[in-house]
């Protein structure tokens, strides 16, 4: 079974992003599932950036190391990733003499660690030194004269060298691809797909790919490694898309009927809004167009002055009748705390898509984290429940984006949809989403509302019918209020109104099916249970497979809804297991604490990672084995640059 890791690194802003995107498409055309995680700095140009691409037949949901092939487009990539190399390193022979101290963009701490290791092995602090070290380790080293191949490409394309400098990425990528036998035609098609319509860019890159393949054939005897066969998804008629987590949430929101999105630019959330903006005027299906007599739909995307405005504006849109949402990350959510409470007391449906990054404060803005669970659950003052859901992968994120819009309107509440940078910026192949089972449920809406309107009418389930501003006369206030939305501090009515608001969440807890809240993967009778949430899912699913191969039977309990929390079910699963290991991407083990709060169950073993990098499959497997061996309470993970 093919389970390949392909890593490509180079300077940010120099085409590394395109190279990764092209690689993903080429592997898809070869018939595989793909998952490409991106690491980058808060920087526009010059700092190191890389893609870790996982290629599998059945499921690719998490990054892994070591990488079968590392393509290092510059000297910094060699110094940064030589320990990632599993089999091949493709490097530029033009940088062999480069000394690590001459690289300004590289962190002094990483430099010191690398120099220490090079010294210990008696090799110089140059790329050549690293190559010698890898030779000792038995790695296969593929030196490519990138500059001279670029020159050949320029000559063949009949253009200047400067105008195609970025094609150097394609050359490095192509050499890497040739080593595992991905046909040049597939790579060239991937180039055409990625640069769709930009003929001036496509042509030199297609030529660059050919030049690189020709060079590899002549110099490395064609293929060094076992060629990967065509994958199971080759030439099928089931269309696949390659999407980031940001993209897929935008898609879900469009399918879910979003009509107003507000945002203030922030990493790693902004790309979702930009993508919505790109498709703000979109076609309806032919069937819907015929029924509605309407060809297109439109989403108003507003870039606001701050996140305070973003949530307040989305609330205004909601009161006037649109499905509305905003999208942000931790610092933005902090600013939204006030409006979150406002939406709570006036029972305004609104969705906040929250992309977690490394905190606290500005923290590590381009790095992964799961450290905003407490913020999502407890941000804001007063008795303020809300719905909090966390997606574990791109497909969950798509359907969760739609469900979040439904729940917001059905239960008239803010819904926080949690994702993390590891999903937001990771690229994944998905099948064209099946919408046949998707429902759009706007909840209770009064068709003939009286004037004035009892917007907060007491009901059995706590949910009062809505009418939109302008349908009749409707009143809202941020103060406590009576059934007509008029300020009221009567102690007896206060109990009724506060209880009504809380009752809605009991109703939601009852009505929302268990499969939307939590999933148990693997053998339900396994004696070991790994508990996780969010992007831990991908690493955990692979980990339980790998552990099984080694005779360890573990299952994975994937928590998706944190409020209302599926307490009874989670408790029953955890109590049944002999060993429970909590896995998450934050230092406090926030989910473990939330589980204790809602179930009383104290998770005895924890695996946490807060380096800002995603959890790699291999390190998770090792940590579980370590805990089983030692009984240690806590393992801190640190793999990845």
């Amino acid at each position: 079974m093919v389970d390949l890791v392909f890593e490509i690194g180079g300077p940010q802003g120099g085409g590394i992003e395109s190279a990764g995107q092209i690689a993903l498409r080429a592997f898809m055309l070869k018939g595989y599932r793909v998952y490409g995680t991106r690491e980058y700095h808060s920087n526009i140009m010059g700092k190191h950036s890389y893609f870790n691409i996982r290629v599998r037949e059945d499921r690719a949901l998490a990054p892994n190391l070591p990488a079968d092939i590392v393509v290092a487009l510059d000297a910094e990539s060699v110094f940064t990733h030589y320990n990632d190399v599993g089999e091949f390193l493709v490097y530029d022979t033009g940088v062999l003499s480069k000394d690590i101290d001459s690289i300004q963009s590289m962190s002094k701490y990483l430099k010191a660690r690398v120099k220490e290791e090079l010294d210990a092995n008696g090799v110089p602090h140059t790329v050549e030194g690293v190559i010698k070290l890898l030779e000792k380790r038995g790695k296969r080293l593929v030196g490519v004269p990138l500059r001279s191949l670029l020159k050949t490409t320029a000559e063949k394309a009949g253009v200047s060298l400067v105008s195609i400098s970025r094609a150097i990425n394609t050359i490095g990528l192509a050499v890497g691809m040739s080593l595992i036998g991905v046909e040049v035609e597939k790579l060239q098609k991937a180039i055409e797909l990625f640069f769709a319509g930009k003929q001036k860019v496509i042509k030199p890159n297609v030529i660059a790919a050919q030049v690189a393949y020709d060079y590899a054939k002549q110099n490395f005897g064609g293929i060094h490694r076992e060629v990967i066969p065509d994958g199971p998804h080759i030439n099928t008629d089931k269309p696949r898309l390659v999407v980031s987590g940001n993209d897929v949430v935008a898609m879900g929101k469009i399918a879910g009927g979003l009509r107003v999105q507000t945002y203030y630019p922030i990493t790693p959330a902004a790309d979702e809004s930009l993508y919505l903006e790109k498709f703000e005027d979109f076609p309806l299906t032919p069937e819907a167009a015929e029924k509605l007599g309407l060809e297109r739909g439109g989403i108003v995307v507003v870039q606001t002055e701050d996140e305070i405005s973003a949530l307040n504006m989305a609330i205004g849109a909601s009161l006037a009748g649109a499905r509305s949402a905003t999208s942000t990350s931790g610092p933005g959510l902090s600013l939204m705390a006030e409006a979150l409470g406002y939406a709570g007391i006036i029972e305004a449906p609104v969705v906040i898509t929250l992309y977690m990054r490394g905190g606290p404060s500005t923290g590590m803005p381009t790095r992964n984290s799961q450290s905003d669970l407490f913020a999502a659950l407890f941000q804001g003052h007063g008795d303020l429940p809300r719905i909090v859901i966390a997606s574990g992968d791109h497909e969950e994120a798509f359907y969760d984006a739609i469900k979040a819009l439904n729940w917001a309107e059905k239960y008239q509440t803010p819904v926080i949809h949690l994702l993390e940078k590891a999903i937001a910026n990771a690229m994944k192949d998905i099948f064209n989403p099946d919408l046949s089972n998707v429902v759009i449920d706007r909840g209770k809406i009064e068709k003939n509302p009286p004037k004035p309107f009892p917007r907060f009418k007491y009901t059995e389930d706590g949910i009062s019918p809505r009418a939109f501003l302008g349908d009749t006369v409707v009143w809202y206030t941020s103060n406590e209020h009576d059934q007509f939305g008029r300020r009221n501090e009567d102690p007896v009515e206060r109990i009724k109104m506060q209880d009504k608001r809380l009752k809605k969440f009991e109703t939601a807890a009852k009505e929302i099916p268990l499969e939307d809240k939590v999933t148990l993967y693997g053998d339900p009778d396994a004696k070991i249970t790994i508990v996780g949430w969010g992007a831990v899912k991908g690493a955990a699913l692979d980990a339980i497979d790998k552990l099984k191969e080694e005779g360890i039977n573990a299952n994975y309990l994937h928590i998706r809804m944190f409020m209302p929390f599926p307490s009874d079910y989670v408790k029953s699963v955890l109590e049944k297991a002999e060993t429970v290991i909590g896995v998450e991407g934050n230092a406090l083990a926030q989910a473990a604490q939330v589980i204790r709060m809602f179930t009383g169950f104290d998770i005895p073993h924890l695996v946490v990672k807060y380096t800002g990098r995603p959890i790699f499959v291999a390190e998770l497997v090792e940590s579980v084995k370590h805990i089983l061996r030692t009984g240690d309470k806590k393992v801190v993970l640190s793999l990845g640059q």
Binding site: L193, V260, V300, M313, E338, D429, L469
Partner: protein, 308 residues
Amino acid sequence: MVSEQVKYQADTWKDWCPGCGNYGIITALEMALRELGIPPEKAVDVGGIGCSGKLPEFLAINGVHTLHGRPIPVATGIKLTRPELTVLVDAGDGDTLGIGAAHFVAAGRRNVDITILLHDNGVYGLTKGQASPTLGLFIKTKALSKPNINAPVNPILLALASGYTFIARGYAYHVKQLKDIIKAAIQHKGTALVDILQPCPTYNNVYTKEWYEQRIYYVDQEENWNPVVEKPEELEAKMEQTIAKALEWDERIPLGILFQNKTVPEYLDRLKTRIPFITELPPYRQPIEVDGKPIVDIAQIFVDKLVM
């Protein structure tokens, strides 16, 4: 004109202090809406926090009382979703020029068709008289233990710098004149500011009724006063004229329409360059489902992401 039978003010007892300028403002607002023929269900009043923010509670039109400083974003969200509604903001100078100043500036940049009635009294009334953003430097009102050491912000200049396309000033006790100004502001297509000088008889014993009435005058009584920019080339001269008026304060205080720019497109018209049908089919009017089912096909929209 809407019939006198139709109520614009709620039966609620208004808990403002006796002599509060807000009584004049709410009356002027009612008269303006009635005369413009805007029925209660087609108007929304969005309030901030404080004495001014209580207006929506005392009105019988749609009312959205919000958070301190936040009525402008909420009003913007309402207007963009359902443009057929007349959307008003009632907020104090603390709301608009202090805690919500970023929103006040952004409103001018967007030029959404909302009308902001700025209750300008120089004090935070409901928290018992602290200095607010329009109180002058070294002024000591009776509620302050020491003179104010913050300089005031000039709402007219700030609005002008932010791109407001309608800027006027009214006086809370001149109900009829204020009503006419509010009517013009509502009729203006774009963000309109009415800076309403509002005596706070309880806490501001400096900017009193007497103090104002010795100074105020109406600009339209001056010969040849014309604040309207009809063509882009007139902008500079009209702005200069408005700046001069905005700087008057200690001896004479101008009231009336100080600036109106008809050459700037309103926000929805700007959105139309992106979504051509948005004015006919604003978010509120757009269907999002047929029989509870989505009305889009992902692969049909996102062809740029297809790999096959």
